[in-house]
Amino acid sequence: MSTPPSPRTLGVGRVLIAVYAILALAATARSLVQIIEHFETAPVAYILSALAGLVYILATIALVKRGPTWYRIAWITITFELVGVLVVGTLSVIDPQLFPADSVWSYFGRGYVFIPLVLPILGMIWLRRRRSEILEGHAPLAARS
C-alpha cells in the first residue's frame, strides 16, 4: 500500500474494482465447490465457470494496474466476459440441458443478480472514458523504472 494510487483506481472506478473482486471471489469459489462435489454431472459447464472465475480475477488485477499492457489485458478479459455471458446466457435459454442453472453465466448471470451482464459493460465504458488518463499515467512510472 506504499505505492502511489494508480490513476485508474481513482473515484468511482474503485467501486467497480471492488465489485469485480467480489464477483471474482464468488465465481471462483463456487466453481471449485461444483467441481469438487459434482464434476461429472456437467464437466464442460463447471470448467467454463472456473475459467470465468479466473478471468474475473485477471480482470480485477488488470483494472488496478496501470500502463498500456494492463490496459489491453483489461479490454481482453472484459470482452471475454461480455461474450461469455451473452453466448452462454443465450444458449442456456435456448437449450436449458446444455448448462446447469447454477453456472456463473447461465441465464445471463441470473444467479448473480445479472451483475455478470452489467459489469463488463460498465467496465468498458469506464476504460474508454479514462483511456488518456490511464495511458498518460503510465509514462512517468515507466521513466522511473
Binding site: 473515484g11 474503485r14 465489485v19 473482486a21 464468488a26 469459489a29 465447490v33 469438487i36
Partner: protein, 122 residues
Amino acid sequence: MIEIFTWVQVAVAVTAGLLCVILGLAGKTPADLTMGALALVEVLLLGQLGVALLAPAFGNTATGSVLEFYVYLVSAILLPPAAGFWALVERSRWSTVILGVAALAVAVMVYRMEQIWFHQVA
C-alpha cells in the same frame, strides 16, 4: 442455522449496505457510523459461524451441501474486513460506497446460505 437469527442478519446487512451506499454517494468519507455498521455485520457473521459449528450437535443439520455453505460463510466473513481495510487506507467517499457494496454482498451470501441450509437438496 437459526432461521430468525439468519433473517435478522440479512436485514442488518441490507440496512448497513444501503446506509453506506447512500452516505457514500452523498459525499461522506468512512466514519464511526459506517465502519460500525460493517463491524456489526462482521460480528453477526462470526455468530453465524459459531451457530453453524454447534448446530449439528443439536440435530440441526444442513439439508444441502455443507462445503458450499462454508465457502459462502468464509467468503462472507472476509468481505467486511477487506472493505474496512480499504476504507482505512483510502479515506474517500467511494470507500464508503464500497463498505455498502460489501455489506450488500454479505446479505446475498447469507440469503444463499439460508437456502443451502434449509431448502437445498444435496
